[in-house]
């Protein structure tokens, strides 16, 4: 009897002492995005694939970190997104939420994440308010925001002589933030906004708004919309001879999936701002080929790339902090410089904004493209510190 107890105790002690078990941390990550609507191609299942690739590349299992990934469709509706987020945090034991495109949903989920003291690593949404006046200690905004888009495309267009603007703005949080940020950039550069129209979201026919934009005689028509709305606007602008009339289109947020949907014939010459392009260098190409293989041949968007990089950085922080405690992990994430194959070196500011280089691309002519997905040529690289809003100006009151 005594011997048995002794043996059992010894066995237990041996098990406890083995490093694999001692460091075992279980993480449940939820990828919350649009899986059925107009943003499903630019986020959707692709973002889940990207998150899974991050876990594989990090070799999480070897490091004693067990990661489970769940996903859900928020249908671009703040109420649906909030319900899922609450259920994930309260009942399903989700530790962090990733992606969340559609700014109105992202702003709601960000507040819930703060309330529940979990982590939101946002890649898909655009509103710069996420790290501005609505910032929280729990939200990291990875890929892009309306400020960076405005700096990139807006700044470039004004520099090229497009100094009068008319906005077609998707009538929700993202469109309004984008119009506001772009207006600031245009006015600062000496340009002028002559008018704007708020279009119901999502929309199908933009001809009426295009006609109003045409009548405004503005040199540039700024499309403060995204996804299917942008595709329809650009398609119909071509039909109504807007660009032949001398007015330029600025697709302030145009994803590679939109260019793919438009075809080069309709999209050629568009100037756009991206945080990531699959064909940028050897590393992005290698990763993107792997991604495309898992994603039915479709190349990643910057949103999906951002989910990968955000997840990877999170896992690094968990490994370094040796815990999944929210405050400790977020502190580690902000203290550690970001560095990955897709976005290069960067950092996360006190307000949760990830700083990395942004790129101004021009869409190739059909004759210049070597095949499917060969769509962009680089116009210029915008260094991270110029692309994103300085913390001091962001309106975020988080302590350093």
């Amino acid at each position: 009897m005594k011997l048995k107890t002794l043996l059992a105790t010894g066995l237990l002690a041996a098990v406890m002492a083995s490093p694999a078990v001692a460091q075992q941390i279980s993480i449940k990550a939820g990828v919350l995005n649009d899986r059925s609507g107009l943003y499903a191609d630019l986020s959707g299942e692709g973002s889940v694939i990207a998150a899974r690739m991050a876990v594989e590349d990090f070799k999480a299992a070897d490091k004693g970190i067990k990661v489970e990934i769940v996903s859900a469709d928020h249908q671009n509706k703040p109420d649906v997104g909030s319900t899922i987020a609450r259920q994930w945090y309260d009942q399903d034991g989700v530790d962090l939420i990733l992606d969340v495109p559609t700014s109105s949903v992202a702003l709601a989920v960000s507040q819930i994440t703060k309330e529940k003291n979990k982590i939101l690593i946002n890649s898909g949404a655009g509103s710069s308010d996420l790290t501005g006046k609505a910032c929280t200690p729990n939200t990291i905004h990875w890929t892009y925001d309306t400020y960076a888009l405005a700096q990139g495309t807006g700044g470039a267009m004004v520099k090229a002589g497009g100094d009068t603007w008319f906005f077609m703005t998707a009538d929700y949080a993202f469109g309004q933030a984008l119009e506001r940020d772009a207006t600031a950039v245009i006015t600062k550069a000496g340009g002028k906004v002559v008018g704007s129209v708020k279009t119901p979201f999502p929309g199908t026919d933009f001809s009426s708004f295009l006609l109003q934009a045409q009548a405004s005689k503005a040199k540039v028509i700024g499309l403060a919309n995204a996804g299917g709305d942008t595709v329809n606007s650009i398609k119909q602008a071509g039909e109504f001879g807007i660009t032949q009339g001398g007015q330029k289109l600025a697709g302030l947020l145009t994803f590679i999936s939109d260019v793919h949907a438009l075809g080069l014939q309709a999209a050629q010459g568009l100037v756009l701002t991206e945080a990531f392009y699959w064909d940028k260098d050897d590393q992005t190409r290698a990763w993107s080929q792997r991604f495309a293989k898992a994603n039915g041949g479709k190349m990643p968007t910057m949103v999906q790339a951002g989910v990968y990089a955000g997840m990877l950085h999170y896992l690094k922080a968990v490994e370094a902090a040796k815990t999944k405690d929210t405050a400790a992990v977020v502190a580690k994430m902000k203290a550690t410089p970001t560095d990955d194959a897709l976005f290069g070196k960067g950092s996360i500011e006190a307000n949760g904004r990830t700083i990395h280089d942004m790129y101004l691309y021009e869409v190739k002519k059909p004759s210049e493209s070597k095949g499917p997905w060969d769509y962009y040529k680089l116009v210029s690289t915008i260094p991270g510190k110029d692309a994103f809003q300085p913390v001091a100006e962001s309106g975020c009151n988080l302590p350093k």
């Binding site: 499903a40 009426s208 006609l211």
Partner: protein, 295 residues
């Protein structure tokens, strides 16, 4: 310069015309719904998906078979109409004797399945489909630049709508149809094959939706959700016009396109809701719709 409510009249003409063009889509789609409801008493929620299928068949015909737009205009309605006939024979027929609600649920479920299948296969951001070369470019009308293609849309839809109206209201076949709507048992007793009539009518209504889909392919994004977004508005149009009224569907389709177009000028934020506001008002004042017969 003289202005009307702050908008120059020239600009207004342009907007009126655009409203009518959008109205043509509402007209063809609500016409198909009205025809189906009239005879089958089924509220065909699959209509939006069938409209989307029309656009996709046009795209497939071009990319897999090399058939151009003009061929697609004929092929797509036939193919999608045939799918519709299969749906009627295999599914709708079995629930014909049940309450309206079952038909509504079945067609709604079918719409979700069809949209899901297309989304899985083709993604959600859409496929490119170019305007046919014969119709590219446009005319400068002085007050606006009218793309040739939009002019074609309005002509094609008027012809199809009035042709359908003529077929149903003025021909012998149409009189059988109307008789079968009124009293199917009696009509059958006169030796008319009512079940066949029902099947063909459903196929025809679906073909109309597919035709609208082909018309839409070059100007709207061809994506699996294109019908789902539109169908709710079209239902409102049918309700305003009066369920089952052929002329009502056509006139209301164009009229509401116009109203929506003008709302886009004067209060753009309300453009997505104006039709529903009108629907509520009409239901309060004339519950059977503007052109509907009181039940």
């Amino acid at each position: 310069m003289f202005e009307l409510l702050g908008v120059p009249p020239q600009a207004l003409f342009g907007q009126v015309l655009l409203g009518l063009i959008n109205g043509s889509f509402y007209a063809i789609l609500s016409l198909g719904l009205a025809v189906i409801f009239g005879l089958l008493n089924i509220i065909n929620f699959t209509h939006g998906a069938q409209y989307m299928m029309g656009a996709f068949v046009a795209w497939m015909a071009l990319n897999y078979l090399g058939l151009n737009y003009w061929a697609a205009l004929i092929v797509a309605p036939i193919v999608v109409g045939a799918v519709g006939i299969a749906i009627e024979r295999l599914l709708l027929r079995r629930i014909a004797h049940l309450d309206h609600l079952y038909g509504l649920l079945l067609t709604f479920g079918l719409a979700l399945i069809i949209q899901g299948l297309f989304r899985n296969q083709y993604g959600s951001s859409g496929l490119p489909y170019a305007i046919p070369p014969q119709l590219s470019g446009g005319q400068n009308l002085g007050f606006m630049f009218l793309p040739n293609y939009r002019a074609w849309v309005i002509v094609a839809s008027l012809v199809v709508c009035l042709g359908t109206w003529f077929l149903i209201e003025k021909t012998k076949l149409g009189s059988y149809l109307r008789a079968a709507t009124e009293n199917p048992t009696l009509t059958q007793a006169f030796g008319i094959n009512v079940p066949l009539l029902v099947t063909l009518t459903y196929g025809f209504g679906v073909a109309l939706a597919a035709f609208a889909g082909v018309l839409a392919a070059p100007i709207y994004s061809v994506n699996p959700n294109m019908g789902g977004d539109l169908i709710i508005v079209v239902f409102a149009v049918v309700v305003i016009g009066g369920m089952g009224s052929i002329m009502g569907a056509i006139v209301t389709g164009f009229a509401l396109g116009l109203v929506e177009g003008l709302t886009k000028v004067f209060y753009p934020e309300g453009a997505a809701t104006v039709i529903f506001v009108i629907m509520v008002l009409v239901l309060l004042v004339k519950p059977a719709g503007l052109f509907g017969r009181q039940a």
